[in-house]
Symmetry: C3
Subunit: 306 residues, 3 copies
Amino acid sequence: MKSLYHVLGAKQFDREELEQLFSSAKAMEVVAGEGGTQRFPNKIMSTLFFEASTRTRFSFESAMHRLGGRVIGTENASQFSSAIKGETLEDMIRIISGYSDLIVMRHTDIGAAKRAAAVSTVPVINAGDGSGEHPTQALLDLYTIEKEFGGIDGAHIAMIGDLTYGRTVHSLSYLLANYRNVHISFISPDNVRIPTYVKQYLDEKSVSYEETTDLAGIAKTADVFYQTRIQKERFPSPEEYAKAEGKYIIDRNLLDAMKDKAMILHPLPRAGEIHPDVDQDPRAAYFRQAVNGLYIRMALIEKCFT
Amino acid sequence: MKSLYHVLGAKQFDREELEQLFSSAKAMEVVAGEGGTQRFPNKIMSTLFFEASTRTRFSFESAMHRLGGRVIGTENASQFSSAIKGETLEDMIRIISGYSDLIVMRHTDIGAAKRAAAVSTVPVINAGDGSGEHPTQALLDLYTIEKEFGGIDGAHIAMIGDLTYGRTVHSLSYLLANYRNVHISFISPDNVRIPTYVKQYLDEKSVSYEETTDLAGIAKTADVFYQTRIQKERFPSPEEYAKAEGKYIIDRNLLDAMKDKAMILHPLPRAGEIHPDVDQDPRAAYFRQAVNGLYIRMALIEKCFT
Amino acid sequence: MKSLYHVLGAKQFDREELEQLFSSAKAMEVVAGEGGTQRFPNKIMSTLFFEASTRTRFSFESAMHRLGGRVIGTENASQFSSAIKGETLEDMIRIISGYSDLIVMRHTDIGAAKRAAAVSTVPVINAGDGSGEHPTQALLDLYTIEKEFGGIDGAHIAMIGDLTYGRTVHSLSYLLANYRNVHISFISPDNVRIPTYVKQYLDEKSVSYEETTDLAGIAKTADVFYQTRIQKERFPSPEEYAKAEGKYIIDRNLLDAMKDKAMILHPLPRAGEIHPDVDQDPRAAYFRQAVNGLYIRMALIEKCFT
């Protein structure tokens, strides 16, 4: 039996696979630009969102439709599903994988996607597992850098904000370890610093990085400003949240200090951490980045089916 | 670049456009009667309902499917989506419009659809914005009158119930201003009268109207009885609701006083304001009216795509 | 006018119809195995779930997609829909049946599906009505027995757990009355025994059955162990629930006492009433049973459309 292709975490990707994926995503831009294809009329994708996320879910569902497929889904499984009846995730996945050809899952628990893949009879894509990983977001982030800069080697990337609970930051760090001469600046309040296990991984892969609380200090040198939201719902207490919130804002002043060829990314949604004044600047790449999610997810779904 | 066709409010329609739309809706009745068409296999419609409405959402989604299209949706975006994470409506629409070819939106705030259209890269259809407007409902209301009476000029229309918060009444009033010799009777409890800005619009357009609390008084003369639900959720206090509720009920007695060729409409759902006794009478047009929503929405969706 | 085919309760099925249905389900296994068919591209199924059930809904929606059809749905109509605005179920069905070709409904009230069918202009399938019936579940249960044993006549079936509120047990009992020399053992705590009306039906049909609290006593003789979850949400009080919960568990010990050719079924989800140790045993048929739901529902949907 052919083994299943799952997308569970960023560490599973090596440079060759990333380059193939980006090449496939570029082809998908053309397909989507023509309105889509009817390539997978018989395929059914389940979107199992135990934690609601309209944008991420829409992005996956749109990708499936642009490939001609079908979607069955739940927008808040934790509230509605048999989960509340005491069923294990494993049982649920055993059943749902009998009803679909692909499962896209967001869950509140770290490792949930891996547990799902262990029992599923169809491919599983991790669309976020608690404060664990969000690999498809990191892939689209990286694709945006690759596409707009023409390459990733040698880039200086600043990751800003909540680096403890911000799972996209973890996944993106792992992906960056595949490239040469990358330097990462982790900029965060003291109570939401980048976790030790991420730093250990970067050490193992000999990736250059630094931790700082000084955003202005790297404004002139960074190529990519990866801003994140301080996610209230991930903090243990309101006090911890208050310490972290509102500390780093990208505004016109910061923009004026940046290189002409810098790029501002954000996994979105944003609250107030990027001022709307910045939106019209060509360096504000976050809305282009969101559309890239469609192409990356089309490429990943295709890979699951072939 | 070709400008986008949005459906935001009833005032945007002139008589010529209404007549074209009704002609298109008549053609859609034939299409739907044959089970639908596969005309738009690559088009994706997003249904963004920040306020739940199963009927309205199903009507739009059915219309899209009857045209061969695809749907991605959320049945209660306000509860589940990134809205709770502090994202602006504008940001959300910028992203969703990258994932779909049409956005159908219901929102709790007046003017939300207009704000969405200002940033969307795809057409936006307003499926209700707070106590503002509900133009597609008003279009199907008008289409029902046109279809069953063979015309709208000269009609005497009674609008009954909650005329302050009942947005369909506002939208229908604006549409009626396109016709000749129309007379409107606004019949409501004192605390939910028709707003001044609606009356000002009718004055500008020289539409004849009156305000009264006496339903029985117009029973013999009105051609159309447009009954509405007293919507508890739109009242500022239980006291205000209690004053308005249960005051005007269409029952067998009132029916006996009506003209043989009268017509009873209701945007539905109804609570108790039309007695079920009335349902079997041929003048009870509200269920036929609901099906007309399918044809009108098919016609509007087609217009957005062509 | 051709009369509509509804699936409302198990009593509507006679042996001939069951055999035709199972033969059709077998054909659907082949269709599904090939990824599906594009047979009903113009048909729209509404899934109206007033009570959430991700598995049952996904099973129906997957079945519809495998037949090439389209789906519009709500995952929790009681919370979101016009139900909260005071609309009757009948009004809602009158409208929804104008937007779709088939309605699949789960509701909290006994008899809701029958009420829906009485006003619907399209077929209605009961996907569970309170503690009433769940006929499609019982059909897939029976299909599993038929498929794995090659027949149902002469079988000894033990039904275990909550026999008062467990609607699938009621529906399955009615279906079994169509077969010869069947014997049913009803095994439950005293406060959730099989209802008198189910026993009366079995008496009328001369079906052999017994009631007992002793699961171990029938371990060696039963062919089918139909285990059910003690559903907390159906109990009038926490005290009544506490009395019933955790009393009958199928584990390795019980398995060791069973016949080599026994079969363990469960409508799922399970909480703790089947130990995971049992999952790998070939007699554990509950996950195969769940997939059979897809084929039975494909067969039923096809029957509604032909």
